[in-house]
């Protein structure tokens, strides 16, 4: 119980530091931030904007204001020009975040579905021909950047053969078939490289586990190879994989950002792209804070999962 409380406090501290850091970003903008955000505005508009952004206060006060607004969902609007009502920031986050998370979830599921059997099999047949070939292919896949995979697929599957739609997001509730058709290429583009990472990690740990005494014990009791592999060896071998899968949320968010821009999925990544290209640094700060919070929360959840997966860790903390 005490452990849980300590972890929760740690979580809150990390979240505060991370958001404070994003808050300093506007202070880091070279020159007057207002001229960067609204280059073609009148002196009066600038004064109003400066007021709205609390630029006349110091960084700590500004952070306090931002925190109060952020936590109540009262984030204001993107700057659109004098008197024009820009996009509601919180509304945009509500629309886009689920899309990015869906994309990430599909990627993780597909990657694990392919990588786990592959890792188990190559560990079981370590040193064999199949293992070598799989290792070689893994090297190739690892070296293909996400955006290269994405553009190649776009060229062949969309532009030349019109098999899949090239852009846009369709909600699963409106049309499940179109939903998945629109996501095949984005998900595959990220998954290809991830498979290699996960499978190699699992293989390494699995090879070590397979040499432990309890595996020999299980085999000598006459338990089938398949059962030994899947029931006895996989679970203790999956810890590193789980850690990396958790840490990978960050990489995947990055990957998701790229494919969101390439395939126009209008998720949080696209919102960030949009905010940067239109110099909406205040909105950008909110979007980044949301991503950082998701990232920290997921890592927290992964950490908690360890205790479920490996009984040996209960009690003793690692890392």
């Amino acid at each position: 119980m005490q452990v849980v409380a300590r972890r929760l406090i740690q979580l809150v501290v990390v979240l505060l530091v991370v958001t404070f850091f994003t808050s300093i970003l506007t202070a880091l903008l070279p020159g007057d931030p207002v001229t960067t955000i609204a280059p073609f505005s009148s002196a009066q508009d600038r004064a109003t904007l400066r007021q709205q952004l609390h630029l006349n206060e110091n960084v700590v006060e500004r952070y306090g204001q931002w925190l109060a607004n952020f936590s109540t969902g009262n984030m204001g609007r993107e700057y659109a020009g004098n008197g024009i009502r820009g996009t509601d920031i919180w509304g945009r986050i509500k629309d886009t975040l689920p899309r990015s998370l869906t994309l990430m979830l599909y990627v993780q599921i597909l990657t694990l579905l392919i990588a786990v059997p592959l890792g188990v099999y190559t560990a079981y047949r370590a040193g064999s021909r199949v293992d070598d070939v799989a290792n070689g292919i893994a090297f190739f896949l690892l070296s293909i950047p996400i955006y290269v995979a994405a553009t190649l697929m776009l060229l062949f599957l969309s532009v030349q053969h019109h098999l899949l739609p090239s852009e846009g997001w369709v909600s699963i509730t409106t049309n499940p078939v179109e939903h998945f058709k629109h996501l095949v290429m984005p998900v595959l583009a990220i998954t290809l490289g991830q498979i290699a990472v996960y499978a190699r990690l699992l293989r390494t740990d699995m090879v070590a586990t397979l040499q432990e005494d309890f595996i020999l014990m299980a085999k000598s009791k006459g338990i089938s190879e398949r059962r030994v592999l899947w029931r006895h060896a996989l679970r203790p071998s999956s810890l590193t994989l789980l850690t990396v899968a958790g840490l990978n949320v960050g990489t995947l968010i990055g990957g998701a950002l790229i494919v969101e821009v390439i395939f126009h999925l209008n998720g949080l990544g696209f919102a960030i792209y949009d905010a940067i290209s239109r110099r909406q640094y205040i909105a950008l700060q909110d979007y980044i804070a949301v991503i950082a919070i998701v990232y920290v929360l997921v890592n927290f959840a992964v950490d908690a999962l360890y205790h479920v997966l490996d009984p040996r860790i209960r009690g003793a903390r690692i890392g």
């Binding site: 290792n135 955006y147 968010i253 990957g255 940067i276 991503i291 490996d310 690692i318």
Partner: protein
Amino acid sequence: MLESADPKVAPNAIAAAVEAETPSEETYKKRGIGVFAWISIGWIVFIVVIAFLAPVLPLKSPMIGDYAHPNAAAFSPGHLLGSDASGRDVLSRVIWGARASLLLAVGSVLFGVLIGGLLGLIAGFRGRTTDTVLSGGFNILLAFPQLVLALTLVSVLAPLKTESNGAPPAPHEWAHRILVVILAVGIVSIPILARITRASAISWTQREFVMAARAQGASERRVMFREVLPNVLPAMLSIALLGVAIVLVLEGALAVFGVSIQEPNPSWGNMIYSQLSDLSASPAVWIVPSLLIFLTVLALNYLGDVVRSRFDVRESVL
């Protein structure tokens, strides 16, 4: 490749990584690094030399277009690898782009290795409060998704120009952009490199020869730089090779967001990005740099792996 063949290795990789064992005798006995490693080295040397020689090679201008031949196909006369929509020569752009991309990749890794490596070494060597404070800092930086952090740093450090009047950018703008990206990506890589160096430094600091050096009255600085550092270097080299590969890819990702090297200056990343809206117009423009990134990353990954297995560096530290 049968790594961690030791039956006593706990399946818990993080704990195992911290107590990373000493390289076995056989690791050093292995001679020769294999054909693929030599091919990889050859490829990297080739790319670096070509990029270095760009100003003296008989190339067309990478920025001024040949308006008579836009979207030329590969192997057409005058344009060996074709030309883009403004008739700019792909071969020339890809070679000049290599300068930008490689400079960025090597520069930011160098920056990250120097600062991250030093901080990690100090944290691992000093331990106690120093370690707690420094590791806390690394963890905070690691709480950001890397691409997002890099993206933010670049866009904040060098906001995109409000207007461009079509005039070619001054050379100092190119250099400024490169410096900004190096700084941003370097900062992102600091905590990652520091954590790896720290783990390695901890295990070496506990060894007998370090104790012996201390017993002989060697200063802390001497022990750190002369006894511990040389042993930590192989791990850093392996990670640095992977790092260069990662940054090469990252540059393309930054270009997708429009914050890498700015047009009309070429980089491998922005060449790919420039064609995203019309992939089939002149495929060579994005396929050639894509292929170059792929091959260079493949070579670097492979070499990183060779170094790692030779020195038995634990990849699980990542």
